[in-house]
């Protein structure tokens, strides 16, 4: 991985020895993870291995049972819920597999949502949202509701929404999981290109190797443990 930019830079977001159980089922059992600014890291592994849980812990959505998550040197799990929410509004972006767009809002309103949550006025927020829709090639459906557009268009709208607030880290959980390969490829190309332009780090959870191939390196989660493959290849 020597050719990667900033290989020696300190990690932007790092997790060590994460443990997390849902009831009696352990989802994470001592997982480690680190990502540098501008890096695209694929988190791979079979379903149920704890990939999504790792993402939720990294994003501060779920507090781990034990272990540490540090973002820019700050320990996430020690922050109160309100501050973690504020951090997610300001510094993080999210794309999920499906069901993430508010069905009542039009596409442009959906994309403007993160900006409006940070207090930006509606007109300004929707203007910026429209730019992002343009960039992701879905400007034509901007006044449609999510129920009226295709899955591929929906994911692009979701990507636009995730990037509209210029996040430092973009979390993508199976962003192409519900798409055919052509649409999936296009969404991945747009996502990675946009992330590289804005310098956002991308945590890309996927079980598809063709999607993982858009990453700089991959981390394999198996039985709740993350294995960084950087040194292996």
């Amino acid at each position: 991985m020597n050719e990667e930019p900033g290989a020696d830079a300190p990690a932007l977001l790092a997790a060590t020895e994460l443990h997390k159980s849902y009831g009696a089922t352990p989802a994470l059992a001592g997982a480690d993870f680190a990502i540098r600014a501008g890096e695209v890291v694929a988190v791979m592994g079979p379903s149920g291995s704890g990939k999504s849980t790792l993402l939720h812990c990294l994003a501060g959505i779920v507090p781990p049972d034990s272990g540490s998550v540090r973002y820019q040197g700050r320990e996430l799990s020690s922050l109160p819920d309100a501050e973690r929410s504020a951090l997610r509004r300001a510094d993080f972006g999210f794309v999920f597999q499906f069901g993430q767009l508010v069905p009542e809002l039009t596409c442009v309103e959906n994309v403007a949502l993160p900006l409006r949550l940070t207090g930006i006025a509606r007109r300004a927020a929707e203007a910026r949202a429209a730019e992002w829709l343009e960039r992701l090639e879905v400007a034509d459906v901007r006044h449609h509701r999510p129920g009226q557009i295709s899955g591929g268009q929906g994911q692009r709208v979701a990507v636009a929404r995730a990037l509209v607030n210029n996040p430092r880290v973009l979390f993508a959980d199976e962003p192409t999981g519900a798409l055919d390969s052509l649409n999936g490829e296009r969404v991945m190309q747009l996502l990675v290109a946009a992330a590289r332009d804005t310098g956002a780090a991308v945590v890309l959870v996927t079980h598809e190797s063709r999607v993982a191939a858009y990453s700089d390196r991959e981390v394999v989660v198996r039985d709740g443990r993350a294995r960084d493959m950087a040194g292996v290849a």
């Binding site: 959505i61 509004r89 999920f96 509606r122």
Partner: protein
């Protein structure tokens, strides 16, 4: 035959679905609970005729048949204890225990002198510590209890006391009990009230049942889609859906029946506003009960089929034809307009309404109230559709309502009927209230109780004052003895003799200060008072007055008792005493005029009580109570600023309570709908949380989502209710007014919004956990 078979088969399949799995059971149970609540209310309403008839029957069974040649001397001896009225009858058969006249219903035999028979509730009260003061008053020996057949309700306080002290001139009874009197034709206003009350109480129940039947509809639709996939056609799925609704409704009938039986026992034990009943009285009338039993399941099926009208259940999912038809105002206004057309002509000529007019009025009212529920969805759609901008929470809520305002509007329509009806009734009651309420002119700040007695001479009066004043809790006693005096020289034959006599009051200085602005006063002083109104006879100092007048102010023939107004008598201005009376005439202190010289005086005492001692009034009642004896005939009154308002206020409070209950019922269904909606959106909620959405934002959005339709509903209800109220007032010739009568009910509606939001918050918080993101 085969069509019938298909119906039966698919209804049965629906019933099986209703009981399949936890989700199915939950939905069915919720529906059953909702329908059950409605059924309880309907069954109670169906019991009202029998309840009233049973009360009438028993009240008639103990009625006293008075006649001058009756063989039983009777005396009415009602009293009151801590605001609760106690009925009482003194019995004295002339033939003693051997009398041939059967005793009143509920008695096996006449109580002997010194004995009494009490109602069970009175018995309990007398034996309890809180009834100790009453036991001093009703101190006869309890020898039995009045049977159920002789009481109006289980909580009634009543007694029969035996006595041997009723004189020859007492009232007499030839017997007890009569056929229930058919009742006088009810007052037009009353009929109208009853009509509106029925509609107001029962319409929301219908709306509520309709809502309950639709609970969990979305999941049901998905299940029906699965049925379509395996080959069911549209009509089959509708029948299956009908079967599911039927299962819920039938279960609801059972729940409602059980609830009714339980509630009946409870209602038989409580007393509301002095009214109580027996469980055995609460029996639904057979035709009405059958109607409920048939109408509930049938309407459940109809509502379901109607709800599926706008839904296309395709094998691969459910398509809601939401936007296809915009709601049209024209036909939605028809019921309201028809109602108005029916009611408006009656506004001028309702007084002498015949049955046909009454029915027209009823139909008009129902149409008007039902019309609001039809107009509301249109209004919500239009208003919400025009909403733009606002903060994120507002945007989320309005957009949600824009996409489907139907369920919200439906839930609220029940509230609308209740509020509109309650507002109309409120106005009507307020109108009756202001017509029947008089300012009494009494001033409870100066004295709270008045004791009146007649036929006491001056000495006895002083004794009574002393006895009252000695009671614990009596802070001050203003006792006065009054009679009349005629100026000497007046023509005894004059027709207006009574009018030419002057009022003479004898009381101490403290009391006189309550009657007039007397200034300095010492025993021996006499004052000549002029009332503000004037017109009374006011003697001058030195006038000679004849005191030998009877209680009407007419001189007793052949008697003369002359008294000279002292020269030192001062003229003063009268002031209203605490009971509102003004004395213009002679005000004398006892040293100046011996009260014993007034031959037929009336005795009054105005009492100031210790406000912290609720027993004081009862002690006063005990002190003047003469019970089974014939004699003083002293009565005790509480002084109030307004009269007759109390009953109306109670009715209004009852109305408010009823409206609140109905709204709670609707609120419950709104909560269920909201929770169902939240559950369906748990994934989206989790995503929004991942984005860093504040919980408050989503909470407020739920608030808006509830508040917008409710506020619209309340606005429509207030408008329609006020209009209907004005119309009803015009119909019964009351001065139209009280335009703000809607606000208490509207306030309750506001509370409902808060309640629904509050109850929705914990599940919202719970659903906003990131667990919703897990796809597994």
């Amino acid at each position: 035959m085969s069509a019938l078979g298909a119906w039966r088969r698919e209804l049965a399949m629906g019933v099986r679905f209703a009981c399949a799995g936890r989700a199915g059971w939950t939905r069915t149970a919720l529906t059953a609970l909702g329908v059950g609540l409605g059924v309880v209310v309907l069954l109670l309403a169906a019991s009202v005729p029998h309840l009233l008839a049973a009360r009438d029957t028993r009240e008639a069974a103990r009625a006293v048949m008075m006649s001058e040649d009756g063989q039983v001397r009777i005396g009415f001896a009602p009293t009151e204890y801590h605001g609760r009225p106690i009925g009482g009858l003194l019995l004295q058969p002339e033939a003693g225990a051997d009398t041939a006249v059967p005793p009143p219903a509920g008695l096996d035999s006449y109580p002997g002198p010194g004995e009494m028979v009490v109602s069970p509730a009175l018995g309990r009260l007398l034996d309890s510590p809180e009834g100790a003061l009453l036991a001093e008053r009703l101190d006869a020996e309890q020898v039995g209890t009045i049977g159920e057949e002789g009481l109006v309700g289980s909580g009634e306080l009543y007694y029969y006391a035996g006595t041997d002290r009723l004189g020859e001139d007492a009232n007499r009874a030839v017997g007890f009990g009569t056929d229930p009197w058919g009742g006088d034709a009810m007052d037009a206003a009353l009929v109208l009230l009853v009509l509106v009350v029925c509609v107001v109480l029962l319409m929301p129940v219908a709306v509520f049942i309709a809502t309950a039947v639709r609970l969990g509809g979305e999941r049901r639709d998905r299940r029906l889609a699965a049925l379509r996939l395996v080959g069911a056609d549209v009509r089959m799925t509708r029948r299956v859906a009908a079967g599911e609704a039927l299962a819920g409704a039938l279960l609801g009938l059972l729940v409602g029946g059980a609830g009714f039986l339980a509630l009946r026992q409870y209602l038989g034990r409580i007393t509301v506003w002095g009214a109580s009943t027996f469980p055995s009285d609460i029996v639904p009338s057979a035709p009405l009960a059958v109607l409920v039993l048939l109408a509930v399941p049938v309407s459940a099926v109809c509502v379901t089929l109607f709800a599926l009208r706008g839904v296309a259940i395709e094998p691969l999912g459910v398509v809601r034809q939401a936007r296809i038809r915009r709601r049209r105002l024209a036909w939605r206004l028809t019921p309201i307009l028809t109602g108005l057309v029916l009611l408006l002509p009656l506004a001028r000529s309702f007084r002498d309404a015949d049955d046909g007019t009454l029915i027209l009025a009823g139909i008009g009212i129902v149409l008007l109230l039902a019309g609001t529920t039809v107009v509301l969805p249109w209004l919500v759609e239009r208003v919400v559709g025009a909403m733009r901008g606002g903060p994120v929470s507002w945007q989320l809520a309005t957009r949600r309502l824009q996409l489907s305002s139907g369920p919200a509007a439906r839930a609220v329509s029940g509230i609308t009927v209740a509020v509109a009806g309650a507002t109309a009734l409120y106005m009507l009651f307020a109108g009756v209230n202001s017509q029947e309420t008089e300012e009494t002119g009494q001033d409870p700040d100066r004295a709270q109780v008045e004791v009146d007695a007649y036929e006491l001479d001056g000495t006895e009066a002083q004794g009574l004052f002393g006895k009252i004043d000695a009671q614990q809790g009596v802070a001050a006693t203003f006792g006065l003895v009054s009679g009349y005096a005629a100026p000497v020289g007046a023509d005894p034959g004059a027709a207006d003799l009574a009018e030419s006599s002057a009022v003479v009051v004898v009381a101490d200085c403290a009391t006189l200060r309550e009657l007039a602005r007397v200034g300095t006063c010492a025993d021996g002083d006499v004052f000549l008072s002029r009332s503000a109104a004037g017109g009374e006879v006011t003697p001058q100092p030195g006038d000679r007055l004849n005191l030998a007048l009877d209680y009407t102010g007419v001189p007793r023939p052949g008697a003369e008792d002359l008294w000279t107004v002292p020269a030192a008598a001062r003229e003063v201005t009268a002031r209203p005493d605490p009971s509102g009376m003004e004395y213009g005439g002679v005000l004398a202190t006892p040293a100046a005029l011996d009260p014993a010289r007034l031959p037929e005086p009336s005795t009054r005492a105005l009492l100031r009580l210790d406000p912290g001692d609720p027993d004081a009034l009862e002690r006063v009642r005990n002190a003047v109570w003469d019970g089974p004896a014939e004699g003083t005939d002293a009565s005790v009154w509480e002084l109030t600023t307004e009269q007759a308002s109390d009953d109306i206020r109670k009715v209004r409070r009852g109305l408010l309570i009823g409206a609140t209950g109905v709204m709670l019922l609707i609120g419950a269904s709104m909560i269920v709908t909201t929770l169902e909606q939240l559950r369906e959106r748990r994934r989206l909620l989790s995503v929004l949380v991942a984005f860093g959405t504040r919980r408050a934002t989503l909470g407020v959005s739920v608030l808006w989502q509830t508040a917008v339709p409710v506020v619209l509903g309340l606005a429509v209800a207030a408008a329609v209710g006020t209009g209907l109220g004005a119309l009803l007032m015009a119909m019964v010739d009351l001065p139209v007014g009280n335009w703000l009568a809607c606000w208490p009910v509207v306030a309750v509606g506001g509370g409902l919004i808060a309640l629904v939001t509050l109850v929705s918050l914990p599940p919202l918080w719970y659903l906003m956990r990131p667990d919703g993101l897990r796809t597994e």
